[in-house]
């Protein structure tokens, strides 16, 4: 009898230990995520499995893109080095689970901000780093130049697990067109199937269409139709429940946009410390104590601008110069006819 009692005791002890771990981790501390990130020494960032211009790895495994730059900005602010990021490529299906389960701390993966995602599933969208809309790509040879030429029976290739599937249904239903949705799990397969002729049209966010077009056998044979059938504000996402971390990510992005507004670039950031404009001086850390609110030093925003650059530099480097979308469209500053408008950093 005593023999088993001993086993029972050790079992109970084991369970008790496990419970202690949970209670400890449950204790609400001020930005657990920030603390963990500083302890680990890198920012854990979820990105796409390869979308040129947004998050794409080269042969050597170096990630580039505007989504990647958001994570780099956070790393520069929090850890002082924009390269201290661990990227996790995620499919559309996996992305939210990876974030809510704590596998990553920022999801910066061309993710559309919608009410249900924001409210329902334990996520918080911190801002918009790319204003997009869903469009259609067709073969030039089809002679289609507008979605009004779509006819009953058209087959459309797309990804599963995205807002695309829902928008597509809304669009075709409102036009009264019957269609065949062919939905794949990974973007590469969508492109391959569309390219082979399985589908008449390929639909996703227009930026995605422009980026994927560059991957096709013969990009010139395809065109993106002018119509935009939805609003797709893409932005970084964090877990709900860590307000400080949320603020850090939000203001890292805002810093990049505001820096462009004030003409601060990675090249001239240091010189701007002596600017006459107090708003500029605040952004480069020469005035005010903005970092303290997050538990960061005062040079956090200067590091972002110096190491990653402002939003315009990031856009030019990743999206314009690569020929994906040379025209900034709505992703231009509000002062230049676009809709990029961020609250002031003060």
């Amino acid at each position: 009898m005593f023999k088993y009692l001993k086993q029972l005791t050790s079992l109970v002890a084991m369970v008790a230990v496990l419970f202690t771990f949970t209670t400890e981790s449950m204790a609400a501390k001020k930005s657990k995520t920030l603390k963990n990130t500083q302890k680990k020494g890198f920012v854990r960032c979820g990105v796409s499995q390869g979308l040129p211009g947004f998050s794409n790895a080269d042969a050597a495994g170096n990630w580039t893109g505007v989504d990647v730059d958001v994570c780099r900005a956070v790393a520069a602010a929090v850890l002082g080095d924009a390269n201290k990021v661990k990227f996790t490529p995620l499919s559309a299906k996996e992305r939210f689970t990876a974030l809510t389960s704590g596998e990553i701390d920022i999801l910066s993966r061309n993710t559309t901000w919608t009410l249900s995602r924001d409210a329902d599933i334990g996520l918080t969208f911190v801002g918009v780093n790319f204003y997009d809309g869903q469009g259609f790509m067709v073969r030039k040879s089809s002679g289609i130049t507008s979605t009004s030429q779509f006819k009953n029976g058209i087959s459309a290739c797309t990804n599963i697990g995205t807002t695309t599937e829902l928008n597509m249904r809304d669009f075709f239903n409102s036009k009264g067109i019957s269609y065949e949705p062919v939905a794949f799990e990974k973007a590469d397969e969508v492109v391959a199937a569309y390219d082979a002729g399985r589908c008449d049209t390929y639909t996703t966010d227009k930026s995605g269409l422009a980026a994927q077009r560059t991957k096709m056998k013969n990009p010139d044979e395809h065109i993106v139709l002018p119509e935009t059938i939805s609003k797709e504000p893409l932005g970084p996402v964090v877990r709900q429940g860590d307000a400080v971390w949320e603020d850090i990510v939000r203001w890292s992005l805002n810093t990049m946009i505001e820096a462009e507004e004030y003409g601060i670039t990675s090249a001239n950031a240091d010189m701007m410390k002596t600017s006459d404009n107090p708003a500029i001086k605040r952004l480069v850390g020469a005035e005010g104590e903005l970092g303290a609110a997050f538990g960061l030093d005062n040079d956090w925003s200067l590091r972002i601008i110096k190491q990653v650059g402002n939003y315009g530099e990031s856009y030019k480097r990743n999206i314009a110069d690569t020929g994906i979308l040379p025209d900034r469209g709505p992703n231009q500053l509000w002062t230049k006819g676009g809709i990029l408008y961020v609250p002031p950093a003060r």
Binding site: K93, I144, I160, E165, L166, R169, E189, A192, G197
Partner: protein, 383 residues
């Protein structure tokens, strides 16, 4: 009864440990989900799904519920599994027997097939059949008609649709034929046991299954016409076929790869089964004057089946589970529709994954039960 404490305690501890571990995980998940603002519940199943599915056996569109989307996925999984199991079994038996053929060419060809297909990962084979087929198949406007009515194109296989009049009469005639065959077989068995006379049951069966439906056409007023697919232009270079029935290339590629892959394993089971029957059995059967056909049917197969069925059951289970690789090539099975799109749209990861797991478990157990029943039926019945 004499319960000994020593016998009970270890079992009691095991039960407590299991309950504690499960309780711990449930509790932990609850706390963490609460912390992260995730609701738990199955209420979403009745909500409007608002996404469409390419291929469905039941009427479905985005205005139906998530539960119906689940059914769509489940039925598609069952469809591909059933077709796959049937083809794999037929192919497996043929190849298995071919491997024992004294003919060098047939023997080696069967061996090559088995070694080739069972040693390449299934996912690769699925990609191969899908993308190779996509590249190789013609666009709808370039497709040549097979037998004038079938069109195999990159957008799918278009076959004529049957348009029935008085289909129910035709259906009853088939049912009547099947019942008649069962009755005749039972009768023939009795006659053979009592009088030793053999009735040509097989010929009679074939006759019945043709003649009764034929009669339904001649005097029952059953009419059948075909709706042949017709090419329709959508744009300058994009065409589809309208009318008829279309089988998506995803379904074809998936069925093909699953069957070809699983058939190799079934072929080995069949070979093992036949080789497992003693040579003396065959010789003894021949010595009492049975024809080679009768030897196979009455002596070899009944014994071989007992060896073949249990490992083949495993292969059926594997095929069913492997069908979840469908997601890679856009075949809307349970994993793609429910554990894919529905999960994404609702964010109910734990609920949906648990439902999906439970569904596969139920499917597998059903197959197991069915096969075990069959296995028991053909097992040696000691008299």
């Amino acid at each position: 009864m004499n319960f000994k404490l020593k016998d009970i305690v270890p079992q009691l501890i095991t039960v407590i440990a299991v309950v504690l571990v499960f309780g711990f995980f449930t509790y932990n998940a609850q706390i963490n989900m609460e912390n992260r603002g995730i609701d738990f519940g199955y209420g979403f199943l009745s909500q409007e799904s608002s996404f469409d599915v390419q291929f469905s056996l039941i009427e479905y569109d985005g205005s139906h519920s998530y539960f119906r989307a689940y059914l769509v996925g489940l039925l598609n999984t069952i469809l591909v599994s059933v077709i796959g199991i049937i083809i794999a079994t037929i192919l497996g038996v043929i190849v298995g027997i071919a491997r024992l053929s004294p003919n060098y060419l047939i023997n080696k060809f069967a061996a090559f097939y088995v070694e080739f297909f069972r040693n390449i990962p299934l996912l690769l084979q699925i990609f191969f059949w899908y993308f190779a087929a996509l590249r190789a198949l013609p666009l709808p406007q370039d497709a040549e008609a097979m037998f004038g009515v079938f069109f195999l194109t990159i957008k799918g296989l278009y076959v004529p649709a049957f348009i029935w009049q008085n289909f129910n009469i035709f259906f009853y005639s088939i049912i009547a034929a099947i019942i008649a065959i069962i009755v005749i077989r039972a009768h023939a068995k009795k006659v053979q046991e009592n009088q030793g006379k053999q009735i040509p049951v097989f010929l009679i069966s074939i006759g019945l299954i043709f003649i009764l439906p034929l009669l339904s056409f001649l005097i029952g007023g059953v009419r059948l016409s075909f709706e042949v697919p017709v090419l329709k232009q959508l744009a300058t270079t994009s065409f589809i076929y309208e009318g008829g029935v279309s089988l998506p290339p995803e379904l074809i590629a998936l069925t093909l790869s699953l069957s070809l892959y699983t058939a190799t394993f079934i072929a080995e089971c069949v070979r093992a089964g036949i080789q497992g029957v003693g040579k003396g059995q065959k010789e003894a059967a021949a010595s009492i004057g049975l024809t080679p056909n009768q030897v196979l049917k009455l002596v070899i197969m009944p014994q071989a089946l007992r060896i073949i069925i249990p490992p083949t059951t495993n292969q059926y289970l594997n095929l069913t589970k492997n069908s979840s690789l469908a997601a890679a090539i856009a075949y809307p099975d349970l994993v793609l529709v429910f554990a894919g799109t529905a999960l994404m749209q609702t964010g109910k990861a734990i609920e949906i994954v648990s439902i999906t797991m439970f569904t596969y478990l139920t499917l597998s157990i059903s197959i197991s039960i069915l096969m075990n029943w069959y296995n028991k039926k053909i097992a040696i019945q000691e008299k």
